[in-house]
Symmetry: D2
Subunit: 480 residues, 4 copies
């Protein structure tokens, strides 16, 4: 498969790495709840999914590559009986989807079986891995999640809370975790607060935790709050047990990209509604970079609220100009020579009726490699657009992310190689404007507490020397 | 599978039955072209797909249940070598998808092999079928398409044009057809012009025909025109051969629902762009049924242009209020009791930030059974909407369609049982308004030439007595 | 797949084309009975299987490529409810297994739906096919079975018995048929009696018919008799209705190869037990072609009884010398250069302990192309055999079969090109002997009434001129 | 699937647990060689298969549930490039086949990646596992193989030879191992010599190791010798490096069941050919337990040589009396009430022609639970046998095996509960005789050096207290 031509533009967006969920419900079988929570967070990762359930004595797990609805059916959910569960949906950063790296990761330990699901990235995992190997431990995957689980297996302490806390101190980087033991679900967030994590009260008793609040709303949760940076929250019988395991970092680092692209529009992050922030990003962009034009169109779906905001503030009419072919999925059929130029055109359909002879403002949420943007602009021009003005609802992405997002490497990032005028010429727009960093923060409504390293290169923690290289070295074991 | 609970609301929309394509290209392998044309018309039917190709001597075919991208891969497209092809994508009207009724339908005849793909419905097919049986012919399916193919096998005449014309005279109802012979592709449209059918000039030589113009644009066609009612168009070497086989009916009957819901927004039908007509339907609706409100939201995706039009004309701001979970596909997992009420909520996500304490105008394109509308309104109220005003961009659907669309039966159609006030109360809206028939025609821009039987009950041809029953009788053979 | 190297020796044996079954049981669901009967006749065809069932009103069918146990599961058997059933298991003569040619063949006719399953081959099918086409009938496959079904659809007569009889008169060749109607199962055998066909009384009421008696024993049948040549047997409520529709041919033509290779050892054919006849063939061969040797070994599995007979009569000890790798199935992995010579060795394992330095008599049941025999002899010599004496339990096969068996073409048949001494040299044996025709008939115990055309070239019916060519002409439609 | 009725008699035979292979070939890609070697040992385990290959730098692996020919295809073998490989084919002792416990087991360690494949069973694995857990190591499966691999990961020493030797000392029980490192394949056999293990010289250079010699013959090996108890053999560039890592136990314990049932007839074990030993077992049995009878028949396939030996020695004619339905595979279709009694009859077919009114000696190789034997005897009596005399080519199995064979538990073993006369009555035979222990050893040709614990209860090593229970305790993690 890998050698075949893939029609779906692959470079259009940054990729989130995971969604996680944890559930304890004393009166219900929780596997189905975990399933629907993962289903609601499918946008966070489409490559693999898994659920582990404890019945109070043993842990059973099912995981596989594919969408949540493909991985699970009534037959394989049925054996997952119990009141404690965690789940994971995964975006595969390295090549083809691979069952071996799917999560949760399940281990038997001296203190009983545990399962771990992880969203994020430890920047010191190479060192932690080496420590484990030197302790005489063998590792069966190349994931942080196994490193985390194996460190938990070897952790000291008289309770899981203590053991989790003792190894948390060694973890540097982004980690939103759910940990399943025989009789508990532990929910852990790093002290920087990189990735989202929420906990909610279930209507039928018990609690649930999830990367995004939308998953908790799907479960009908009555009250939802964020897990605070550095907290361990234990989902247990009567009430939540919350421990501030590590002090929150003075420089908090919530990922702004959750607002710009990742989170589902109905989710809340840092107390703010995603869709609303996206509209405000569009409004702010209209303030900063106005243009005389006839119509504002979004690059669907994620830029729709930004375009609505831009149109409302600018007074330029909003309309559709590009429609997504919903059925495209991935096709591996190679177009013949005569159809070759149609790649983007198979996913995005231009609407000449709304574009022809117009001056068009196109609102998008990011430019990563620029290939798709270039093709879209050509598509719009072929459909008769007189002028095309690109407006991006965030600053240029100039640096890779090491906190759990696949932004691409320095080599791949267009804004690492070009200034804005060069980019404009490269993509073929009449004008190109990015939202400014202060403007973006103003639209979000906070001024500090966020990680903007992909825009600024100022990472909120110190990276190990030669960090980038570590991605490529010593990939010693491979499995399919 | 059939007994399982299906989460995706099944009753929301009328169902189109098919998309068809025909290609002749003297310099290219046409199977791939047929593939991408079907791909572009996937919205017309997701249950089965097939392509038949002639190499000038024999016809090869591959068809199966599933999406176009699931049915075909490089291995099964490769043997389909030749310069003549037809293809079909199918919506299955009767129960579960069934390979046996998939199209094209391939037969060997006295005059060589033929393959047939059909979009539409013959209202006299029971009588035609009986004629064939009485002639001692056995039939292996219950489809019109086999009746059509078998009549062609027995037709008299010295050329395919003659033979096609001789049996066309007997067909009553909707038929847009592509017929593949060893050395030709024949494109046929009924004299009422019910369903769309277009033909275009390929950039590399030869011609293609397709239900929708968007498929021809995907193939890069240079000039596109509609096949006129009653025409047989032969795709052949140098130029198109067009024969007015039957005189067009004085009362033309193009399906208005192609504008309202079926066709892809970038397609043209009867010379008009679909997206533009949909905006005008929304504008007209704002004229006819204004309401004081704070926000206009569409039911995505198909009602977006209508909502944009309504907002523009009314001056009420347009915004998203409902978001579609793109990954829903179909899930067959039964929600537990506590999640049961979430059915619609799993597909449609309300955005409280844009709705709470607002008076909301919801624009949709049709109400069939009303179940989904009722659930959506409840979803919006739970998200805090102060008022919910439903606006529908067509008149109430009160009658079944017998021309190839699955609108539902009289029993199922809400508007057959209730007047508008009863419907409003039933779905729980604060107000409900449908676009008037004259208003709809004004927005389309014509006053005559259309079939509006589903609104008016005035069918453009006389139905056989007891027509409805014939759907249920004599389903004597079943296959899976 | 077709281009890959297939390790399983493909040329070793003639191929039977089908097994058929028919069941009527007033007190039971018959689909499961048909399933187990097909299961017992899996050796007659491994490429596709199908079952059609009537509930007295409509006929439902399921068929697919694969083994019986692969084609059917509880989910697809369950809907096949009713008291009347037919089934078919198929060996695919033409290239890769193809669902389109799978049986039963199901048609709706003027007299209600019918399904047909067929074992045999009509030598005048090209003419019959042409007649149908000239009557204006289209045909969707290239099988005799469709020709048969379509002729039944157009047959005259006031009952199925009459209609079947009227078309039987036109059929020339081998046909053992089961025909399912709404309320009956008709069992038909050609007047030559080429292929086996039996009928039995079910213990719980009703009757069953099957190609081989072993399938009826699997169903627990209490009394079993052969369907006589030219008979139509109707399985109905109380008793069998037997009609001598056509007079049996004066020159009966039961296929001797059922004794030699096709039938299961516990079946009976023409009143004789297969295993017993095979032992007698071996004994007769020992009489005719003795040799001084140390051990008699069979080519497993089918030649085991022949070798037991040879050993018993000759006094030479019987032992294993070749063992079959039961798990071989088919592998499509290409052996590397160094493993290439191992092809036969992967399926057949020589036992040096029983062979080394011995003079070995190898008993096999036929030589078709000779490739496998040659490889086996080399294998035995590499295992240390001092002498290898091939003994074949039938005469040389010099002519193709046109009565439903894939013996290979003249080009492929080794004995068409070589005399016995040339064959001996070609396969590398120290001696080679075939059973004589009179010896074979003596072992069977009859002197007349059999078709031995593959040995003698004297076909029991006159073939159409240019018969061989007709296999290749007019293969106008192809499906996968 | 687990709840469905399985027709194939499951209790008939003891189950071997695995076949292993290791290959080093400096001039060839070894994955295909490992594939064909596993293919030749498919009879040792049909539940899962896997191959791991080193290219000198990294190790790649593919494993899955299913037969070797199902698990591997050209696509997944292709990426397994390199000159070092190990492979495994597995019989799953615990419930349904489970990918999680499939082998090889692959780990990254301080000294680079290793993969391990294991045939056998460590009786002290619970204690070793506990030691690992107490060292803070987490374990992801319940297999010995992971315990072995993880101990290797933590082993001390400056070379793999040293490290392997240091942990070998702690292993108590049966282990034939292949260990793959970046640049070596290590072949290890326990000092008791329980399970077979051979090494051979490849014709193209390099060496291979395999559980059975037949696999090495498939690879064309020129010289084959057994790996001696306690040896570590390193397959390396020029010559084998053999280290006597542990002194062989004074009381050697080769498994006699390899002769009786497990090994393929063309393999050699302890220098003796399997098929020949089986014939001698039958001859010895005829000496010990003669009976007046008319025919000797085997229970196919494994008892065929025993029956040939019994017949030759006793002078009673050998013949087939039971035939195996080769296509049975597994069927999950539930027979209806009227077919229920047919279970065994679907797999084994009696041949009345050879049995009716005869006094029949039935030779089988073992009785475990007795269910199948009872059904077979009833089958033979229904086919008309006048007397049925069971003769078993080994003593009664009275004790479970703890050295890697699934003989069943004390509860399941018929001979644990009954004496021979009770067994005879239970299975319904006219007489029943087992080969004596001294007779069996005489037929094998040795008097000492074997493990006969399943017959005698005298285990060649001391079992941990409460050993049996340890199979059931602490199955804390489960995966599917």
């Amino acid at each position: 498969m890998s050698k075949q031509h893939i029609l779906e533009p692959q470079d259009h967006r940054p990729h989130e790495e995971c969604g996680i969920v944890g559930v304890f419900a004393p009166n219900e079988n929780v596997a189905t709840m975990a399933y629907f929570a993962l289903f609601a967070m499918q946008h966070r990762g489409q490559d693999a999914a898994g659920i582990a359930v404890s019945n109070g004595f043993s842990i059973r797990m099912h995981k596989d590559v594919g969408l949540v609805s493909q991985v699970f059916d009534a037959d394989n959910l049925q054996p997952l009986q119990g009141h404690y569960a965690i789940g994971h949906t995964r975006y595969s950063t390295t090549g083809s989807p691979n069952l071996h790296n799917a999560q949760p990761f399940l281990l038997d330990t001296l203190h009983g079986p545990i399962a771990v699901a992880h969203n994020g990235n430890l920047v010191n995992s190479a060192a932690l891995r080496q420590e484990l190997l030197e302790r005489g431990v063998g590792l069966s995957s190349t994931t942080d999640s196994e490193v985390i689980a194996m460190m938990l297996a070897g952790a000291r302490g008289s309770s899981w809370n203590e053991r989790i806390r003792s190894v948390m101190k060694k973890w540097v980087g982004a980690y939103s975790l759910v940990i399943l033991t025989r009789t508990g679900v532990y929910v852990v967030r790093d002290p920087w607060g990189f990735r989202p994590l929420n906990v909610g009260l279930l209507p039928g008793g018990g609690h649930a935790a999830a990367s995004e609040s939308c998953a908790l709303q799907t479960l009908g949760c009555l009250a939802i709050r964020e897990v605070k940076p550095g907290e361990i929250v234990a989902l247990s019988d009567s009430a939540l047990t919350v421990q501030q395991a590590l002090p929150p970092k003075s420089r908090q680092a919530a990922c702004t990209f959750e607002f710009i692209y990742f989170s589902r529009p109905d989710s809340y992050f840092n107390g703010k509604n995603i869709h609303l922030v996206r509209q405000q990003l569009g409004q702010q962009l209209a303030e900063e970079s106005p243009v005389e034009a006839d119509v504002v169109i979004p690059v669907p779906d994620s830029a729709i609220p930004g375009a609505i905001g831009y149109a409302a503030r600018s007074g330029i009419p909003y309309n559709d100009g590009l429609v997504v072919n919903r059925y495209i999925g991935r096709t591996f059929i190679q177009p013949t020579e005569s159809l070759r130029h149609q790649d983007v055109g198979l996913k995005f359909i231009a609407l000449p009726a709304n574009i022809r002879d117009r001056r068009v403002v196109v609102v998008d949420d990011s430019i990563v490699r620029g290939t798709t943007t270039e093709q879209l602009i050509r598509l719009l021009r072929e459909a008769g657009a007189r002028e095309v003005h690109m407006r991006i609802t965030c600053p240029p992405i100039r640096h890779p992310c090491y906190m759990g997002v696949d932004m691409g490497t320095y080599e791949e990032l267009l804004a690492h190689h070009m200034d804005e005028e060069e980019m404009r010429a490269h993509i073929g727009a009449d004008s190109l404007a990015f939202l400014s960093l202060p403007g973006m923060m103003a639209a979000i409504g906070d001024t500090t507490g966020y990680c903007n390293a992909c825009f600024t290169g100022r990472y909120p923690l110190s990276l190990p020397p030669d960090y980038v290289k570590s991605n490529f070295e010593a990939r010693k074991i491979e499995d399919d």
